[in-house]
């Protein structure tokens, strides 16, 4: 295996959880809801995933539990922000803090317990192609899932009527409501989808990348996923680009350090956020004001009767 091949493989594994979580959040935000609780849902997915996988001995059960845990957290958020029309920023932050604490309790009995990671799914024949084979077709199932999700969401948002309605809820909830669409129900489903993705991303951390539980193991990846959505100006394929850019920077700076280059790691750790700010500024300049975000993003909607 060449070094380039090795670096690419590592970049893919570092980027995949970011991409999965970012795609979920992108759908949530497209429906007009800002859920800052990605970190909390992700870490609950990580904790419940590994606990269920150890209890049942099945990786698939772990993944399922992680997805359900993410959705349960998301449902809690939905109850607050849709049911009670609570402030979304406050509710999202609370969800993160709550998730980090609760995951510590869930995982407490399994600290240090470990299991075999979920293996790779090599696609026959294709994975034998030199260089491209192992990189593209010798990955774990989550990597394929992340791309299927990206393609699916891109198709759904731009090519289907349901996607159009979801976007309408995000651009102008009042208009969508006036047209007779159940805005709150659509937003609820979007929030659940976001929770499922965040949970799946968490499962990737605790079942594949580092197959054990330790409290706080998501270490800010949920926040990076949020930054990626903004970076991507709410476009799915650009979110994939963003996730790989952020994942790539992380890995390259580790390699640069190992090779003895003088790079301040503190600066490299801050780079994803700096790039997000630069991209935001660039977008604002190009558009001469206004953002690429859904017009009703973060605004609670209370249907009148």
């Amino acid at each position: 295996m060449t070094l380039l091949e090795a670096i690419l493989l590592t970049v893919i594994t570092a980027s995949t959880p970011l991409l999965i979580a970012a795609i979920g959040e992108l759908v949530v935000e497209k429906s007009g809801v800002l859920n800052l609780g990605v970190e909390g849902m992700m870490i609950m997915g990580a904790a419940c995933g590994i606990v269920a996988a150890i209890a049942t001995g099945s990786g698939a059960a772990g993944v399922l539990a992680a997805v359900l845990a993410g959705m349960a957290m998301a449902a809690l958020f939905a109850a607050l922000t849709l049911g009670l029309a609570a402030n979304q920023v406050a509710a999202g932050l609370a969800l993160t803090i709550f998730g980090i604490g609760l995951s510590g309790v869930v995982g407490a009995a399994h600290v240090g317990a470990q299991r075999e990671g979920i293996g790779k799914l090599e696609i026959p024949l294709l994975s034998d192609i030199p260089f491209l084979g192992p990189v593209l077709f010798g990955q774990d199932p989550f990597v394929y899932a992340s791309f299927a999700l990206t393609a699916g969401v891109a198709w759904f948002l731009t090519r289907t009527k349901a996607g159009l309605i979801l976007r309408a809820c995000g651009e102008s909830a009042a208009s969508a409501h006036a047209l007779g669409y159940p805005v709150l129900r659509i937003r609820f489903l979007a929030i659940l989808f976001g929770g499922a993705c965040a949970g799946l991303a968490g499962a990737y951390l605790s079942l594949v990348l580092t197959p054990f539980w330790t409290s706080g193991m998501t270490a800010g990846r949920g926040w990076i996923a949020l930054a990626i959505v903004v970076f991507a100006s709410w476009l799915p394929w650009r979110a994939a680009l963003g996730a790989y850019l952020f994942g790539g920077i992380t890995i390259l700076q580790l390699h640069a350090q190992g090779a003895g280059f003088r790079v301040p790691p503190q600066l490299m750790s801050a780079l994803p956020y700096l790039i997000t700010i630069v991209v935001l500024v660039a977008i604002m300049r190009l558009r001469r004001g206004g953002t690429a975000g859904p017009a009703n993003l973060g605004t609670p909607f209370v249907p009148d009767r």
């Binding site: 070094l3 670096i7 330790t214 580790l254 390699h255 190992g258």
Partner: protein, 359 residues
């Protein structure tokens, strides 16, 4: 982010302390001891081993002590937790992190009737002692073993923060490695965290991809060691015996043991002989040990044990001269030896290490 949880745990700990005090009148005779932890008891590393120490102390002294552990105390919550411990009658308080050094130093004069002990801090006060272990002695042994095991002649080091404790550990690993083979090299990656398992694993991957085949790690968890197992190379455990995380990759762990020290200090308070001491225990003190030896040949084990015994008995000292900095300046010539204060302040790599220390 974990403020809420820490508040909850802090309150719970304080309540437990209050309950312990209120339960019985004979508790008047007992010494109440508080242990403040920076991480969760279940981190399987640093904080876990301090809690084990608390247990050991309670075992040794039986009903002469009552011990309270408060875990995951963030530095901003420290004052409140310690004040609560003092108010509930704790007379000996162990603050087990360097992050607690400054706050302990500030609080100690306000509570002259209480004895404080800070782990890894640099200076004492009339009612504040400091204690640490000479973990670098274990690092020297790791270097020797790594040089025996490595085929690529390259050690990978997953480093945390550029503080003297980590810098002198890297230097000492290489000192040990060069004693076997002067052509040994090290690659260093700083992850800027004590615990971020996925990034630790990514750092380990990067190091292995660059040809390192023995991994040393300074982080609190087993992630780099697990990666070593996955990739079929070797690695070392930190703070506790980590064999089970990597049955085929694990060589040895540096296993901390604070219990005997805690028992001795609590007994000193009970007997009225407590002094603000500065303890820096080495392999000979029992404050940590290298255990077990796994995946090593009998010859390698006997060499490691020989070096361990030489260090423990003082015949071999990892900071004997000559010591030359990366840039070529001589720190101490042949025949000299660094003082403890010089070791504690080390902020340079030795000549021969071509990694950089972030400023």
């Amino acid at each position: 982010m974990t403020l809420t949880r820490r508040h909850l745990l802090g309150t719970a700990g304080a309540l437990a302390g209050a309950a312990a005090l209120g339960t019985s009148a004979e508790a008047q005779q007992r010494l109440n001891v508080g242990v403040v932890l920076i991480g969760p008891v279940g981190d399987f590393g640093w904080s876990h081993m301090h809690d084990q120490g608390r247990r050991r102390m309670a075992e040794v002294l039986g009903d002469r002590v009552n011990a309270t552990t408060v875990e995951s105390v963030a530095p901003p919550d420290f004052d409140r937790v310690v004040t609560q411990l003092v108010r509930t009658g704790h007379r000996l308080i162990f603050t087990t992190s360097f992050s607690y050094f400054a706050p302990t130093q500030r609080l100690a004069p306000q509570h002259p009737q209480v004895f404080f002990e800070n782990a890894t801090g640099p200076t004492t006060l009339p009612n504040m002692a400091i204690y640490n272990a000479r973990f670098y002695e274990g690092r020297y042994i790791q270097g020797v073993i790594a040089a025996r095991k490595s085929r690529s002649k390259t050690i990978g080091y997953v480093a945390t923060f550029p503080v003297p404790e980590v810098i002198h550990a890297i230097n000492t690993v290489m000192r040990g490695a060069w004693s076997v083979d002067p052509s040994m090299r090290v690659r260093v990656v700083w992850v800027n965290a004590w615990s971020n398992p996925a990034r630790e694993a990514d750092a380990a991957r990067a190091l292995i991809d660059q040809g390192c085949d023995v991994l040393c790690s300074h982080t609190d968890g087993p992630a780099p060691l697990q990666l070593a197992e996955q990739r079929g190379i070797f690695g070392f455990g930190q703070a506790s015996d980590m064999t089970r995380f990597a049955p085929r990759a694990h060589l040895t762990s540096s296993v901390n043991n604070w219990g005997d020290y805690y028992a001795e200090r609590a007994r000193a308070v009970i007997d009225g002989t407590w002094r603000p001491t500065d303890t820096w225990g080495g392999l000979g003190s029992g404050m940590f040990r290298m255990a077990p030896w796994t995946n090593m040949t009998p010859e390698e084990v006997s060499e490691a044990e020989r070096i361990r015994d030489a260090i423990a008995s003082g015949r071999l000292h990892p900071f004997d001269g000559p010591i030359t900095r990366q840039d070529g300046t001589v720190v101490i010539p042949q025949g000299g030896r660094l003082t403890d204060d010089q070791i504690r302040a080390m902020n340079y790599f030795y000549q021969g290490i071509d990694a950089t220390i972030p400023s």
